[in-house]
């Protein structure tokens, strides 16, 4: 595990660096895909910038509102780079809201736009696995298997490596799907990626050693992943119910 990289006096956080690299690579791949399809990729950069900024500011402000006394004692903390002062769930909601407003105001086609950002999300999912490997978080439960890794006082399932492998598999599948008639229906590319990611999380979580459990022992992440999977499959079925097949549409 390499949580930090010491470069002279600088202590670089490797997980954050890996996520930034993943974001850059994802954006490059998405831009290339958009160009190949004859779409203008410029709006991707604006969309991403607005989403990230809104997410960061929203997460920090929400945290400050939750703990007003701590921030009023030291206002400079509002601009601290410390990621521990972020309300992640609020940040995600606000980022999603900002992205929705941008798409609506620019009159961008929703499903096609979601398809365009899918490669970013797919590469970020792999980068997340690498960042977990670097930090040693998202660790596995103890195992007697020969490929277990020594981590946090026990030989554990290498769940961070499973996560990277599953992320690569999902990326490969959607890359193959992108060349078929299935992804010609707007939204199918994005929904397939989300469904596959939910499915892989549902599988992977069984080997994690840090799961949050409900009272009946069910892992919360698995339940949420199952609900997301069900919603995705339902939307796929409904959206493809009355869609003519590509061959029929062509004739």
């Amino acid at each position: 595990m390499f949580p930090t990289l010491q470069v002279g006096p600088l202590s670089i956080q490797v997980p954050g660096l890996v996520l930034l690299l993943g974001l850059w690579l994802g954006l490059t791949v998405s831009e290339r895909r958009s160009r190949q399809r004859g779409e203008n990729p410029n709006y991707l950069y604006t969309l991403l910038l607005i989403t990230l900024l809104a997410g960061f500011l929203g997460a920090r402000l929400s945290y400050a509102v939750t703990y007003p006394d701590a921030f009023s004692a030291n206002l400079l903390s509002l601009i601290s780079l410390n990621p521990g002062l972020l309300d992640l769930s609020a940040g995600i909601y606000i980022a999603a809201g900002a992205a929705t407003i941008f798409i609506y105001r620019k009159k961008l086609p929703l499903w096609s736009t979601l398809d365009s950002i899918t490669p970013i999300l797919a590469i970020l999912a792999i980068a997340l696995g690498v960042s977990h490997l670097a930090s040693g978080s998202a660790f596995g439960k103890p195992t007697g298997l020969p490929f277990g890794i020594q981590l946090w006082g026990a030989v554990r399932h290498p769940t961070q490596i499973y996560e990277i492998i599953l992320g690569c598999l999902v990326f490969t599948v959607i890359w193959l799907i992108d060349k078929t008639t299935w992804s010609q229906i707007p939204g199918n590319f994005f929904l397939t990626f989300i469904a596959l990611t939910a499915l892989s999380r549902l599988f992977l979580e069984a080997y994690r050693g840090d799961s949050f459990l409900f009272a009946n022992g069910i892992r919360s992440a698995q339940l949420y992943a199952w609900i997301l999977l069900a919603i995705c499959l339902l939307v796929i079925v409904v959206r493809n119910w009355k869609q003519p097949s590509t061959e029929e549409a062509a004739s």
């Binding site: 390499f2 949580p3 930090t4 010491q6 006096p9 202590s11 956080q13 400050a64 703990y67 006394d69 701590a70 921030f71 004692a73 030291n74 400079l76 903390s77 509002l78 601290s80 410390n82 521990g84 002062l85 040693g136 978080s137 660790f139 439960k141 103890p142 946090w152 006082g153 026990a154 499915l199 549902l202 599988f203 979580e205 069984a206 050693g209 840090d210 799961s211 459990l213 009946n216 022992g217 069910i218 892992r219 698995q222 339940l223 199952w226 999977l229 069900a230 499959l233 339902l234 796929i236 079925v237 493809n240 119910w241 003519p244 097949s245 029929e248």
Partner: protein, 186 residues
């Protein structure tokens, strides 16, 4: 033909959902299969590794003697600018919460520091919490310290609730983590 494809799509979706629900059920963990809180490891959710160190004056402190109190274990060195920057905030938060039982153990990485400079820094800044000397680097090694500063927030049960690698930590972060540990919210 179209209808047949739709039937296949619905059938496959139902099969995936049933199989994944079965997987959730099969993978319900058996008691004790997750080791958090039982094993000592320098990671969130695990029991904080115990150590015993001395101050320059020879007073001995063991982490385990502070069970029942929230503890901040901070690894630092006098040559490390972010370590020096966060010390005043740590001192203020320590003064504010000391009466409620909050403990700060500032572990100086003495094996890679100048002990004279470390002590004079503590005196100049009027740090009132104990500065422990890790002369051999054994405690830094126990906590797998690769860069400084590194801070571990340990709740009254001895479980690590947050780890902050790098710095300086903001005062708000310090206050919030200590309040959470005191309220048992972490």
């Amino acid at each position: 033909m179209q209808f047949a494809k739709q039937k296949i799509l619905i059938g496959c979706s139902m099969l995936i959902l049933i199989l994944s629900a079965a997987w959730i059920w099969i993978s319900i963990p058996t008691p004790g299969s997750t080791t958090q809180g039982q094993i000592q490891a320098p990671q969130v959710g695990f029991a904080a590794p115990d150590f015993t160190l001395e101050t320059y004056e020879g007073q001995t402190y063991a982490l385990s003697e502070f069970r029942g109190k929230p503890v901040l274990v901070n690894f630092w060195a006098s040559w490390c600018p972010p370590c020096r920057s966060e010390m005043p905030a740590m001192q203020r938060v320590y003064e504010d919460f000391e009466e409620e039982g909050f403990i700060v153990l500032a572990i100086n990485s003495t094996n890679q520091d100048n002990i004279g400079e470390a002590l004079s820094f503590g005196q100049d800044r009027q740090l009132s919490f104990p500065i422990l000397l890790d002369r051999t680097g054994s405690v830094s090694s126990l906590y797998e310290i690769r860069s400084l500063p590194a801070s571990y927030f340990i709740d009254p049960e001895g479980i690590i609730q947050d780890v902050v690698i790098g710095g300086p930590m903001s005062e708000a972060l310090l206050r919030i983590r200590v309040e959470e540990m005191l309220e048992g919210k972490s």
